[in-house]
Amino acid sequence: MLANTEKNVKFIQGNQACVEAALAAGVCFYAGYPITPSSEIAEILSERLPRIGGKFLQMEDEIASMGAILGASLTGLKAMTATSGPGFSLKQELIGFACLCEIQCVIVNVQRGGPSTGLPTSPAQGDVMQARWGTHGDHPIIVLCPSSVREMYDLTVYAINLSESLRNPVILLSDEIVAHMYEKIELPEARDLKLLERPRPRKDPGEKYLPYYTSHPAEVPRIANFGEGFRFNVTGLIHDTDGFPTNSPEKTEALLSRLHKKIDSRLEEICLVEAEEMEDASIVLCSYGATARSCACAVKEARRRGIKAGLLTLKTLWPFGDFIFERLNPRVKTVIVCEMNLGQIVREVERASRGRFEVSGINISRGTLITPEEIIKKIEGLIRN
C-alpha cells in the first residue's frame, strides 16, 4: 500500500499532469489568459513556476500571451501557453508567425464545445481541423492528442521535445474530459526523461551567421538565442537564409518547402498511433482523445459479441499518418471514425482510404462523450447491411 506513495504516484487531473510534465521537461516560461477548461494549467503553474525561478505571466489576452511566449522562446527558454477554442482562434495569427520564424513553443488547447462561446464547460473535439489549418497561408504544424492523464503527461513531454528539436510550434489538443479527469499516474523522475534540445549554432558569433541556413532541405536550422551575440534578425516576412526579407520566388519556394519537409520527412517518427486487436480485425474503430476511451470499451464489447473489431487510437493527429491507412491489413473492410465533432478526421481517413476500404463516421457534437452503446449500435448496423 505504501508503495504508491513512495513511487510518486499521484491521483491528478489531466491539466495537472500537463503541468507536471512541462516542469519536468524544463518549461520555465508560461504566458496565458484564463479560459475554461484550461485554466487549471495556468493556476497551478502560477504557483509552481516561481518556486523554480520560472516566469508566469497572465497577459491581457491570448494574442499577447502568444507573443510573450514567442519572445521568451527566442531568448532560449522553453515556453508554453494553454487555452481553449475562443482563445485558440485568437492565437492563430501568431501561430503562423511561429511556424514561419521557426520559434519553438507548445500550445495546449483544451477543447470545449464550439463554435463561438459554445458550451464552455463541455467536452468536444471540434478544433481538429482548425489546429491544422487555422492560420493563413501554408504552414507546417504538429498536433498531439492525449486520451488519458498518463498521456497528457507523456504527450506534453513529447510536444516539448518535438517543438524544441524541430523548432516548430506543437499543439497539444486535449479535451475537457481528459483535462478534468482524475486518474492515477506514476510521475517519472525528471532525470529519467529523455529531453531534446534545440539545435544550436555550430560556431561562435562571427561575420556571416545565417540563422535559417541548412545544409540539406529537411534539416532544422541552427538558430541562435537572442542575447548570445549573433545579432540576427527574425521576421514574419518571407526571408532568406540570412533572416532578412526577400521577394524572390525561388527563395520563397525554398523556404516554404524546407519548412514542410522538416515535418514531412519525419512523418513516421512523429506519428504515434496505438493499435489494439488489429491482427484479425475486419471492422476498425479509429479515434483519439477522450472518445478513444469509449471506443476501447466498445471494442471489448464487440469482441464479446463475436465481432472482429479493432481499434486505432491516434496520438498524433497532424501531420496526418496516411501511411497508417495505406498499410492496413486488406482484411479491414470498414473503418469507423469516432469523434466528438461533425466530421473532421473522418475526412482525412476518407482521403487516405483511396477507396480501399469503406469509411464511416460516428460524428456527434452535443457536449457529452459518445457512449460505447452508440458505437456498438453503429457497428451492428454496419454489419447488418
Binding site: 504508491n4 464547460t121 478534468h180 486518474e183 470499451c297 457512449t371 460505447p372
Partner: protein, 209 residues
C-alpha cells in the same frame, strides 16, 4: 406505481451491456460550496492510491458552475477503466434537493441513495435503498464546522459500500486538508462510519443489468 413506467418517463437509458460490472459507479452531487467535487476526489484517491485499485473521477458542471448543481462521477474498479463517465450509478450521494432532482435518474434501480436529511425534503418513493442522515447538522452542530459535512458523508459512504477502506479514506482525506484541521477531519470520517453503524443500515448490491 409502476417503476418501469416511471423509469421511462425519466428517460433512463437502458444499457445494452454491462460496463465496469465489477466496479462501483458513484455520483457525488450537491451545490458549489459544499466541497462535493473534493469529496469525490478524496474518495477516488483513497481507492486508487491507498487501496491500490483503479479509479477515475470526472466532473460535470454547466456554465452556471458557480451557483447551480455540481457533480463528480467516480468509478472504482479492479480492472482498467476505459469509459470514464458513469452510465448507471450504483451509488448517488445528493446533498441538495436540486442535485437529487437533477441526477436522481442516473441511479440504478437497485442503487443506493445517500442524502442529507435536512437539506433534502423530498425523496421520491421510487428510490428503494435510501440512507438518510443529517450530515449538515452533524457538521455544524456537533463538529462546529459546516465544512466537514462532505467528509462525514464520505465516511458513511465507505461504511455502507466498502468501496474504500476506512484507512485509505482517512489518509486521502488528510492529504487534502490544512494541518490545523487534521484531527477534525479524522473525527469526521469516523463520525460517518458511526452514523451508519448506529443506524444498522444495510445495502445489498445487486449486479446491474
Amino acid at each position: 406505481m409502476n417503476i418501469l413506467k416511471l423509469l421511462r418517463k425519466l428517460k433512463v437509458r437502458r444499457h445494452e451491456f454491462p460496463a465496469n460490472a465489477e466496479g462501483y459507479e458513484i455520483i457525488f452531487s450537491g451545490s458549489g460550496g459544499q466541497g462535493i467535487i473534493l469529496g469525490g476526489r478524496i474518495f477516488a484517491e483513497a481507492a486508487s492510491i491507498y487501496d491500490n485499485k483503479e479509479a477515475i473521477m470526472t466532473k460535470s458542471y454547466g456554465p452556471e458552475a458557480r451557483g447551480g448543481a455540481s457533480r463528480a462521477e467516480v468509478i472504482i474498479s479492479s480492472a482498467k477503466i476505459d469509459y470514464p463517465k458513469v452510465r448507471r450509478a450504483d451509488v448517488l450521494l445528493a446533498m441538495t434537493q436540486q442535485a437529487l432532482d437533477a441526477y436522481g435518474n442516473m441511479l440504478d434501480e437497485n442503487g443506493l441513495l445517500v442524502v442529507d436529511e435536512i437539506l433534502i425534503k423530498d425523496v421520491p418513493r421510487r428510490f428503494k435503498n435510501v440512507f438518510k442522515a443529517p450530515f449538515s447538522a452533524l457538521a455544524s452542530k456537533l463538529l462546529d464546522n459546516p465544512i466537514v459535512l462532505n467528509i462525514i458523508a464520505l465516511g458513511s459512504l465507505a461504511a455502507i459500500t466498502r468501496a474504500v477502506s476506512r484507512e485509505a479514506l482517512i489518509r486521502a482525506a488528510l492529504d487534502h486538508v490544512p494541518r490545523k484541521v487534521l484531527v477534525l477531519n479524522r473525527i469526521a470520517v469516523d463520525m460517518g462510519f458511526k452514523v451508519v453503524e448506529d443506524s444498522g443500515f444495510k445495502w445489498v448490491r445487486v449486479q446491474k443489468k
